[in-house]
């Protein structure tokens, strides 16, 4: 196919995705409005912003992570982020009691979660990209093992706390876009925007990294430093979205692979915005459908995880794991 046709096709598809994202946002804000707009718009607006921040963070982090690791069925969540998040929440409720945890400053908990997850991931990455081992399979194994360990500890603690605390805990563990603190939301939005900007400036380097480690060094990219820096950004994005709304493991996998499928190019200048738009459409559109049309109160996360899980299995079966 001639490059001009391909370019036009890409531009058309990006435009279409943008349109869909805008439509989804409008539908989310305006559909089924009951009661006063003065109350409804700010309320829905906040929720929309939370959805948007999470969508962008998850999409960007997954695409960058897959480029760095040269693998299309991994998501940063493989590092056991979700399990660590569950462990922190469980540990808090267990240690302090449900009452005091609910009374804690949301900002404090947010900071704590963010810090712990970033620290954990950096230790893991440092070790993985250290001189000893540069083995992805090993890292996956360690991630899975640590995840299991975290889950086991959480499971044990959950079994011995009192039922009331457990109910509170369970509520906190589901990814939820309803109860996001406005202050935290603004802060998160700023951080995500800043990181997105940094990634945008690194687009040529990301393109080169996609060629593989050796080719990247050969072309003069400071590969080790760059990879570590990118992983720090990925970690911050994932930790941020997890701390904000809870774990959404498979969303990234879903949107990244849809972006690769839709965009006949390897250029990150296209892939990053495409993945972000698809994530926006999925999350916002999905939430609109669930809440406004179907009147379900089910957490969207459940549906997204289901769809993402299906895609994951499909990818594994089709052997895209290269």
């Amino acid at each position: 196919m001639a490059p001009e046709i391909r370019k036009r096709q890409i531009a058309r598809r990006l435009a279409l995705l943008t349109l869909l994202a805008v439509l989804a946002a409008a539908a989310f804000l305006l559909l089924n409005a009951r009661g006063s707009w003065d109350f409804l718009l700010p309320f829905r607006g906040r929720k929309l912003a939370a959805l948007a921040v999470v969508a962008v963070a998850i999409a960007l982090s997954t695409v960058v992570f897959q480029t760095v690791t040269q693998n299309r069925i991994l998501t940063p969540a493989i590092m056991g982020f979700d399990a660590l998040y569950v462990l922190i929440q469980t540990g808090l409720v267990f240690g302090l009691g449900a009452g005091r945890v609910s009374a804690l400053d949301a900002r404090l908990v947010f900071g704590l979660e963010l810090g712990a997850m970033v620290l954990f991931a950096l230790l893991l990455f440092r070790w993985m990209f250290g001189p000893a081992a540069r083995n992805l399979h090993l890292l996956m194994l360690v991630g899975i093992v640590l995840g299991t360990l975290f889950r086991s500890i959480s499971g044990f603690l959950q079994r011995i706390i009192d039922p009331d605390s457990f109910t509170v805990l369970q509520d906190r563990l589901f990814a939820s876009f309803n109860a996001v603190d406005p202050g935290l939301l603004t802060l998160s939005a700023l951080i995500v925007a800043g990181l997105a900007l940094v990634l945008w400036r690194l687009v040529p380097e990301l393109d080169v990294l996609a060629l593989g480690r050796e080719a990247a060094i050969g072309l003069g990219v400071p590969q080790e430093r760059l990879v570590l820096g990118l992983l720090v950004i990925v970690t911050m994005l994932v930790a941020l979205s997890t701390a904000l709304v809870g774990p959404v493991t498979f969303l990234g996998l879903l949107v990244a692979n849809l972006a690769y499928l839709l965009m006949p190019t390897a250029r990150h200048a296209v892939l990053l915005p495409a993945a972000a738009l698809i994530a926006l459409i999925t999350l916002i559109g999905g939430q609109t459908l669930l809440e406004r049309v179907l009147h379900y109160d089910t957490a969207l996360a459940v549906v997204v995880e289901f769809a993402g899980g299906l895609v994951f299995i499909l990818l594994v079966i089709r052997g895209v794991a290269r």
Binding site: E205, D207, A210, G212, G218, G220, A266
Partner: protein
């Protein structure tokens, strides 16, 4: 131009390169030959700073590769690896354009486009330029990777088995091309070859490696000796003069 000084490389304590010292002056085509596992690719990737030596150092125009800026080195030295697989879905033109990254940093100008077009033309890739890499034959893919190295337009070019998968016509074209680049443009070119006759016919210098060491190096006429080659490859080889060339028969 390139100095390799006492380079050692070990994998799990096993020496793959030992005390390798080699000095390549500016200009000229050098072939590295030797049996499988001799350490040719390892030496080339150490020279191209894809691997760090465990001891010794490599300098390019006097600058130590371990310390020099990656970008700067990439404008002076290009490397073709023995196996090039790219996971990314790229067209031939995209791939070749990556050769310009050290110069343009993803923001190509007219000079960059011209170099890409030139490299595509030299390797006869124009009809294939908009094909995806996974839609090419092995030899066509190899040519695309060579074109990327050429587009990088560097003083020094390291090619690890560039003639892999190529038909006779393309093999001759490429070896002639690099020889001309070495002679007319003063480029320093190193090629790893398995075809001794190709090396003898076209290269200024041959480096013979085995067991992680350089056994001998010198002009082809000095090294094309039946006894020596037979010992290196542990295979009976005889050398004859044919059409004014030294030809090894095996």
């Amino acid at each position: 131009m390139i100095e390799v000084e006492g380079v050692e490389r070990r994998y799990d304590g096993l020496a793959v390169l030992s005390e390798v010292t080699l000095s390549l002056p500016r200009g000229g085509l050098t072939a590295i030959i030797g049996p499988n596992g001799a350490g040719k690719s390892t030496l080339l990737s150490v020279m191209g700073r894809l691997q760090k030596p465990d001891a010794g150092r490599v300098t390019l125009e006097g600058m130590d590769l371990a310390q020099a800026s990656g970008r700067l080195v990439a404008r002076k030295l290009a490397l073709l690896r023995q196996d090039n697989h790219t996971a990314a879905r790229l067209t031939v033109r995209d791939l070749v354009a990556f050769g310009r990254y050290p110069h343009s940093r993803g923001n190509p100008g007219p000079e960059d486009h011209a170099q890409v077009a030139r490299a595509l033309a030299i390797l006869g890739l124009e009809p294939l330029a908009d094909r995806f890499l996974d839609q090419l034959s092995g030899g066509q893919r190899q040519r695309a990777h060579i074109a990327m190295v050429l587009a990088q337009d560097t003083e020094c070019i390291l090619l690890d088995e560039p003639l892999n998968n190529l038909d006779i016509s393309h093999a001759v074209r490429i070896i002639t091309l690099v020889r001309e680049a070495a002679q007319a443009l003063g480029k320093t070119v190193v090629v790893v070859l398995h075809d001794i006759n190709m090396a003898a016919a076209h290269c200024d210098r041959i480096v013979v490696m085995k067991g992680g060491r350089i056994l001998r190096h010198g002009p082809p006429a000095e090294l094309m000796q039946a006894e020596f080659l037979s010992a290196v490859y542990e295979t009976p080889i005889s050398v004859h003069e044919l059409a004014g060339r030294l030809v090894a028969v095996y």
